[in-house]
Assembly symmetry: C2
């Protein structure tokens, strides 16, 4: 706790990495590119999971679990998908170790235990799931099939960063099957809206909803919708995707159904996912140079109470604090009373600031006598003196205010960092300046997109839904364009 | 739904397998030995998870997440553990696929992408977790460290059975570190008690608590405690284990701490786990020839309402049923109204019997007029006519009765299938008869245990806690014995 965090200004990337570690969210492991999610980080992830899971169930989805491994022959079946993920697959080739005759006490792979067919550790589960759906779907009565899975997946990344890009990560993946294309498209959009609602309402992070260009589309999808959020360094982060798969996987795995009219047709698919990457977005969007700033709805501890006392008076003070603690708990607020006798208040303040606890109450006997409680909100560091008489109600209201306030701040940040540009020079200047979203016209070709990416490191984040038609010309080629696209450098 | 299940009498093993599949719990997948857990099965597992997770948290544990992969060199570090699991390890050797030049459109392992060090897919996580604990534990202030993980693990089994023995399974694994041996032993016992409470109170299944013999101990543990349950075919099933690891892993990974007195000592460890195997136990312990019998506390649907109506009257009837449905929901009871217009009541009855829904209400307009509701409890198939006036309260009480009643039935079954024998002939006769637990004296040696296993397929399930001292002689060698052990054939 002694060492200060690097500031965002000094080194945003180092600040992020240090913060994730020092706040107890995650750390690197002995396995290249894989992280350990520590208890405090996992507690936030559990809150995310619970909320998302409730939202999936409310929209009619059920959870199931499919195998970790995908036999290579199944993996190959949808060619674009296979091609897209082949370069980052962990592959199981053997099923046994044996004593190493050359190294006593050591083990080696048993060459006699080679698998006939290699197993890919799932980078995503379309292949294994669609091979199963073939048996689950015979008739229109079996549709729609609305399934979600919470699971770990592995994508062998060369450069990894805690939460943002790790070889193994945790996620949920929804996989649905429908009788018609419009129904599948509606599901694709519905789940994007669920994600957007979650990220805005719970993570307090505004998002832009839109469609990916072909270049950025999920391998095997006809259409990829996404939500894009802006981080404090002006880079965008893709926070969730929802894919319309057309009949691609149905054809690859021969999933047909009997229609009401007695015909046979391939089913239409969707898939959609968010991952522990959201943890990275949460940290990068709101936190400051003192540490995490957690939105109250996702904070494992919403209120910390630090007793202020003289030697020998702690127990008596804790007794007097108990009614406040119990009142908060009864209102469904999670409270921690930091009664450690080994640390001073200043140390505790700094620690809970680092961990992003939204509200801190510092309570001494004198405050209780005077009927005023020193209250500090983490987001603005504003100090309030709240009347003891209705402290529970005031804190509850304060938590709601903080949730809104963090969201509004992020909205203002995004507004201040969204630039409409008319020329390629302005485009580059915007990126080189403070970054952010750049709304520009381009001719919609992959080539131009690729050129912009090579020259500026910015990509089309999305073609935003609801973006108005507007005649314009491509900033690179001068060709006509009917709508602006969202560009940004991105995580 | 048309085909009948095989009966338990005809073929217990086939009955089990068919039931698991036809009730929609799980099925085999395209991956050898791996299962797909279907939505209805997963919903039961989620209820188990939620309950266990609450119990772990109430006893002070936090969740975290550690990598799926274990580098071979870490895996080797605790030799007994490594030796115990080496024969069933899935091993990742490569991290990339590439186009197969000999087979257009196919992929092959890229020989250039061989890992320097192989990665074992975790069969259990002691190695990876203790290598992490080394950095988390410096001082007695860091202890106890009480962590749990929900995860998938892989053990390459040659003969697999849905839920009972699969190559990949889902589980939780607790891993704790303590300053003293007595404290670690107390934790080992506490978590066994938590498991026993869960299995008895929620799964309605009585268990014997005890210690494993050295032969049956977890690889790397000093002591393994277990809970053993009895299935309807007279075979035992180990439902959960809790291990006292001594300082074995602390020494293998050099995890030392500074004591209060300023010395340095190795920490003491425990680990404990239950898995989706519990799903198998749940099915095998209570179900009958018509299908599942689920204890109400774990049933995803606790009450099904089947409307009985004439053509054209369904909507009006559903309107009248709604207050009952809402009343049950308001009381926290999960209800399904089976309003399908495509199936007849008899078909629906059979389907919900197969799925083990504890209470069925068949409701027609006449029943509502008469104020009496036909109610069938799944466990005994008893039919009751409950007054409409307090139907919600009556159903709630009935669910509680069923929970108790299923448990009592299992207790009676176990009592009737527990035999005390004095000779090896009696021992064999008991096993060849109806099976069950056989309480016998033996001399406590590994050799005798091994001989009994070879000759009878029965193993020592446990040395039960609280089993009274009793002078006796070994049924095989005639040597003296101070207490009886629990023997059984087992899953």
């Amino acid at each position: 706790m002694s060492k200060k965090l690097p500031t965002r200004q000094e080194d945003y990337s180092l600040w992020y990495n240090d913060l994730v570690k020092r706040a107890g969210l995650a750390e690197n492991s002995a396995v290249r590119g894989c992280m350990v999610i520590k208890p405090y980080g996992y507690a936030i992830w559990e809150k995310m999971q619970r909320q998302l899971d409730d939202m999936f169930k409310r929209t009619g989805h059920e959870n199931a679990y499919f195998p970790l491994f995908v036999p290579k022959s199944l993996f190959e079946a949808e060619e674009k998908n296979a091609e897209g993920f082949a370069k980052e697959c962990a592959v199981v080739t053997h099923y046994r170790l044996q004593s190493d005759p050359d190294n006593p006490g050591k083990l080696r792979v048993d060459p006699a235990a080679k698998l006939e067919e290699e197993l890919v550790v799932r980078p995503t589960s379309e292949a294994i799931i669609w091979s199963t759906y073939k048996n689950w779907i015979q008739s229109y009565r079996d549709l729609p099939l609305l399934i979600n899975q919470w699971a770990n997946v592995v994508r062998w990344e060369m450069r990894t960063r805690l939460f943002l890009r790790t070889a193994e990560f945790l996620w949920q993946e929804g996989h649905t099957a429908h009788a018609t294309a419009p129904e599948a498209l509606a599901e694709t959009r519905q789940m994007l809206d669920v994600y957007a609602e979650f990220v805005e309402e719970h993570m307090a992070l505004p998002v832009v909803k839109g469609a990916k260009t072909e270049n950025e589309r999920f391998a095997g999808a006809e259409e990829t919708y996404c939500i894009e959020a802006l981080m404090q360094d002006g880079k965008a982060l893709q926070a969730g995707t929802s894919h319309f798969l057309g009949q691609n996987f149905a054809k690859a795995f021969d999933v047909q159904f009997q229609t009401k009219e007695g015909g046979r047709e391939f089913v239409w698919g969707t898939s959609w996912g968010v991952s522990t990457r959201l943890m990275g977005a949460l940290v990068m969007a709101h936190s400051d140079d003192e540490g995490l700033v957690l939105p109250p709805r996702l904070a494992p501890i919403q209120v910390v109470i630090v007793p202020i006392y003289k030697t020998g008076e702690l127990d008596a003070l804790l007794e007097r604090i108990r009614p406040i603690q119990m009142g908060l708990i009864a209102r469904g607020i999670s409270v921690k009373v930091d009664s450690r006798d080994t640390e001073r208040p200043g140390f505790k303040f700094a620690e809970w600031e680092l961990k992003g606890v939204p509200v801190r109450l510092a309570i001494g006997a004198r405050d209780l006598d005077a009927g005023l409680i020193e209250t500090v909100r983490r987001d603005t560091k504003e100090k309030l003196h709240l009347p003891l008489a209705d402290i529970v109600q005031s804190v509850d209201q304060l938590l709601a205010d903080i949730q809104t306030s963090i969201y509004q701040k992020a909205r203002r940040f995004r507004a201040a960092h969204t630039h409409r540009v008319e020329t390629y020079d302005e485009f580059k200047a915007a990126l080189e300046g403070e970054g952010g979203f750049v709304l520009a016209h381009y001719d919609g070709t992959s080539e131009t997109e690729e050129q912009i990416k090579t020259e500026t490191k910015a990509t089309v984040r999305c073609l935003a839904f609801g973006e108005p038609d507007e005649d314009g010309v491509c900033i690179v080629t001068g060709r006509p364009s009917a709508r602006r696209a969202y560009f940004a450098r991105a995580y």
